[in-house]
């Protein structure tokens, strides 16, 4: 199976000032699922188009298993794309849709028939061969699109927001199916998404893309729990940052002194972050607390999000109780073991 290497990819679209990709390098190990996570317009989809050969890079190289593929025409690359819409050919039956890629290769009829049935079984729709695309639900259409992509045994499977137009229940169902099939076949897969939880749930590796550059990449748990720097931390939903000098285990933060368990090992400026679910609110001061004022609270079912002000700064805290009246002065507890160090910009 295929290992993908993107090397210094650069792409600017005509009549657009900012480049869509700026010398981006990234490696995807064979058999793994890499999620590209980032806001819309960050260049994620461009990466897929370059790999598929629908677009050409201005500079840089793309290699499958160390071999450059830039000179191979798009239809011989074995890099299959799936989009938000299934794009099943409306004039073909489900079975003929799946068979499309095999017909392009000139595979014989008998093989096509068995392969199509095998794929229908694989995506869990064994009875659908003679349906028309219009007769299928959105989730079923995406399953057939997946079968159509997998039947050609592609080197790389690329998914461009394939779940984002589906209902939550269907979406989760399909996410699990894709993950199961990807593991089963061991096919190298790239998933483009702007949904953080989707990326974390599905990927072996998550790459954060912003404005055409790679911000960070790491396994999901590591990225979520220990994002390397402020930019990555923000994409992981963190908005509480503390800076200051550390002496011993005391951080002289902009809000006041706090105890930390992790120390930078130097006396200079340090940057710390803490996840919103690790912050706690209390009516009494504690050893590691700061006085704050409750601004507002939002009931979210499984938790309550409370916004508190600390001087000029507004922070979000996840709590389990909804008893924080607005304007009340309370205390924000920052457990030292959850304060972690971030890399400083430029270091």
């Amino acid at each position: 199976m295929t290992r993908i290497a993107l090397e210094h990819l650069h792409k600017t679209y005509p009549r657009q000032a900012a480049p869509a990709l700026e010398r981006l390098s990234l490696e995807v190990e064979a058999h793994t699922l890499m999620a590209l996570l980032g806001p819309s317009g960050s260049g994620k989809s461009t990466i897929l188009k370059l790999i598929a050969g629908i677009e050409d890079p201005d500079q840089g190289d793309i290699c499958f298993d160390g071999q450059s593929i830039l000179r191979i025409p798009a239809h011989r690359r074995g890099a299959v794309l799936m989009f938000q819409k299934a794009y099943l050919f409306p004039f073909l039956s489900v079975a003929d849709n799946i068979a499309f890629g095999l017909r392009a290769k000139g595979v014989n009829k008998a093989t096509i028939q068995t392969e199509v049935q095998r794929m229908l079984d694989l995506v869990g729709l064994p009875e659908m061969a003679h349906r028309r695309p219009a007769q299928l639900s959105g989730g079923e259409q995406q399953r057939i699109a997946l079968a159509r992509a997998l039947v050609v045994q592609p080197q790389v499977l690329m998914l461009d927001e394939p779940f984002s137009s589906l209902d939550p229940a269907v979406r989760q169902n399909l996410q699990e199916a894709v993950r199961r099939i990807q593991r089963e076949l061991g096919i190298t897969t790239i998933l483009v998404t702007h949904d953080r939880s989707e990326a974390l749930a599905m990927a072996d590796q998550v790459a954060l893309i912003e404005q055409g550059t790679l911000v960070a990449h790491a396994p999901p748990q590591q990225l979520y729990e220990r994002p390397p720097h402020r930019q990555a931390a923000r994409q992981m939903g963190i908005d509480t940052f503390l800076t200051g000098r550390v002496t011993g285990t005391t951080l002289q933060s902009q809000f006041g002194p706090l105890t930390v368990s992790e120390t930078p090992g130097h006396g200079g400026e340090a940057l710390y972050a803490i996840r919103p679910e690790h912050l706690r609110l209390g009516h009494e001061p504690g050893a590691h607390s700061l006085p704050v004022t409750v601004q507002s609270q939002i009931y979210r079912g499984d938790h309550v999000e409370v916004q508190v002000s600390l001087g000029e700064t507004v922070l979000r805290v996840r709590t389990n109780e909804a008893c924080w009246s607005n304007g009340k002065r309370v205390f924000l507890h920052l457990p030292p073991e959850h304060l972690f160090l971030l890399k400083l910009p430029g270091s």
Binding site: G78, F83, F100, A104
Partner: protein, 292 residues
């Protein structure tokens, strides 16, 4: 039966159009058929007969002698023009659909300008361009290919209907290109991209993806083109010869005759033309319907 308000409102909105079309069209069909059967009570003719049809389809009258040749000529001119313009339009649209936007807009404009030009103007332009002393003959003479007009091939007012066919091919290509381009611009590219990543080369994309995608629009457009050419009078009258003539020219010639029998024959011919195109329309609908 109770009619709810939205239903009532909907049919009220449709009434003017249905009424005008229905009355005008219905009245014309009623009087057309009556006249072809010789039934015109207000001039005292009340005997209903199929004489006009009999003499057109098999009689020894002038109409009967010319009808089958005219039908064949009409079908030849119409069929070949429709076929050529549909094939050319498909290929042109595929070639044009990939181009950049400014060029595309200029093309759209040029195509629409051609559509807006009346058929008579176009026919006259072709006449001046292709006649034996026309512009192209002059170019041929300047290149030393011919010396006198008589050496230039007869391309308009010719026996085979080449002038008429050239007219309709050049005038209907833009019409069909616009139909096909509209489909390709809205959904063609996504499907082409999917097909490419699945391993389809350029030709497979055209035959297996583009053609099926545009087929409903193209076949409906081609049917419209066929019906239009089959029934049109001006162009074959301007670019045709006196024999063979197309059915429309034959029908009008007879209809404008002072003799009432000739008029009935003219009317009968035009109604036979109607049966041919409506029958073809139903056939195409049926084939298209059974395919999906």
């Amino acid at each position: 039966m109770r009619v709810d308000r939205p239903t009532l409102r909907r049919w009220l909105m449709l009434t003017p159009a249905l009424l005008v079309t229905g009355v005008l069209f219905g009245v014309s069909m009623y009087y057309g058929i009556s006249q072809s059967l010789g039934y015109l009570p207000f001039i005292g003719a009340t005997r209903v007969s199929l004489d006009a049809y009999a003499s057109v389809l098999g009689g020894a009258t002038p109409a009967g002698r010319e009808f089958w040749a005219a039908l064949g000529f009409s079908l030849w001119v119409t069929g070949i023009s429709t076929l050529l313009s549909a094939v050319a339009a498909l290929l042109l649209a595929v070639a044009l659909s990939h181009r950049r936007r400014p060029a595309h807009q200029a093309t759209l404009l040029a195509l629409n300008a051609n559509l807006a030009l009346p058929h008579m103007v176009w026919a006259i332009a072709l006449l001046l361009l292709l006649a034996q002393s026309g512009l192209i003959a002059r170019i041929a003479a300047a290149l030393g290919l011919i010396a006198t007009p008589a050496e230039f091939p007869v391309l308009v007012r010719d026996q085979a209907g080449i002038g008429i066919i050239l007219h309709y091919v050049s005038k209907e290509i833009p019409f069909l290109v616009l139909i096909v381009l509209a489909v390709l611009r809205t959904q063609g590219h996504a499907y082409a991209e999917v097909a490419t990543t699945l391993g389809a080369g350029p030709w497979m994309r055209v035959w297996r993806v583009t053609l099926p995608l545009v087929w409903p629009g193209l076949s409906a457009g081609a049917l419209l083109v066929f019906a239009f050419i089959f029934g049109a009078y001006e162009v074959p009258a301007l670019l045709g010869v006196s024999y063979p003539r197309v059915l429309a020219v034959l029908a009008l010639d007879y209809f404008l005759n002072a003799d009432l029998n000739r008029r009935a024959e003219g009317m009968a011919i035009s109604l036979i033309m109607t049966v041919v195109v409506v029958g073809l329309g139903l056939l195409v609908r049926r084939i298209d319907g059974s395919e999906r």
